[in-house]
Symmetry: C2
Subunit: 181 residues, 2 copies
């Protein structure tokens, strides 16, 4: 679990990256930036920072901040209450993000999984997104992603977000935010 100090440091760093990219948050939003280390204990290599702008029963929009080479673990969005799983469009705003999804594996992938977790990454169809580029991930599709050398800022446009329902390959992952008191 992250200490409060670690979470605050990550929050400040993510807020600075957003500012540098010209993305404005209200002070209240900046103070609530979510730091998700997935309970893995190594945020710098696995996890992400995000702000949820809106999440209602029809649509959701978030801004995701990834530190250099930070990786979000492989997961999928299964059907929930008889509705298809979450569908999401990733639009890169700054930096570079590498997406890996089910499908034809890349011959020479540009990324490696975090060394503590290699056995929990097994889809290798690669999509590279630079600023202004986007990709839509169908519901219930295995995927993970990693930022390039400069980190990345990614807008996520999607159907309703139901993080609790997400299925991760790595059984250690806990998606709910947790910060030590």
């Amino acid at each position: 679990m992250l200490t409060r100090q670690q979470a605050e440091g990550a929050r400040r760093r993510a807020a600075a990256m957003l500012r540098d990219a010209g993305i404005v948050l209200t002070p209240e939003e900046a103070s609530k930036l979510e730091i998700a280390d997935c309970a893995l204990g190594h945020l710098e290599s696995e996890g992400l920072q995000l702000i949820t702008y809106v999440n209602n029963e029809r649509y959701c929009a978030k801004e995701i901040v990834l530190f250099p080479h930070q990786t979000f673990p492989q997961h999928r969005h299964p059907p929930v209450d008889g509705r298809p799983g979450k569908q999401e469009t990733f639009r890169c705003r700054a930096g570079i993000v590498f997406l890996y999804v089910s499908g034809e594996p890349a011959a020479a992938p540009r990324c490696r999984p975090p060394e503590q977790s290699t056995e929990y990454y097994n889809v290798w169809h690669e999509i590279e997104l630079g600023a202004g580029e986007q990709y839509t991930i169908p519901p219930d599709t295995w995927h993970w992603f990693q930022a390039g050398d400069q980190g990345a800022i990614v807008s996520e446009f999607s159907s309703t977000s139901t993080d609790d329902a997400d299925i991760f390959v790595d059984p250690r992952v806990v998606r709910a935010p947790a910060v030590a008191g």
Copy 2:
């Protein structure tokens, strides 16, 4: 109807405003920026510029560019095929936008309707959005909006967009894009 030259000028101006705000489009997106004068023939005062990032059967995301004091005419999004009308969240990214929706009228509204069209504007509940601020408009709610002195860039996150179904107060409005040959 806009001439091709007028549309190209508006496209270049909108692309420059996006660049100034740090929002990156692909060259293909920039070349397809939609110029919507609503067939009213005075784009500078009534209309908008936009790029639709994604519009599928579950969600939609767009970037809207408004020139200084440019106004988008009053309209609502009615139910379509038994589904509630479009719900949309406007998030201001740069500049200022004034939203007017049904409800308690502002005592001293900051904006006036375009002078050619005053009779087609009649909701006056005012919401002012600066960069980083947002507001969600419920389905089937009358609304219109106008940019401040510097223009505005607004991200629109919403349920599926079905422009053809929109209902405008002004019977002259045609929402489908039209550019002279």
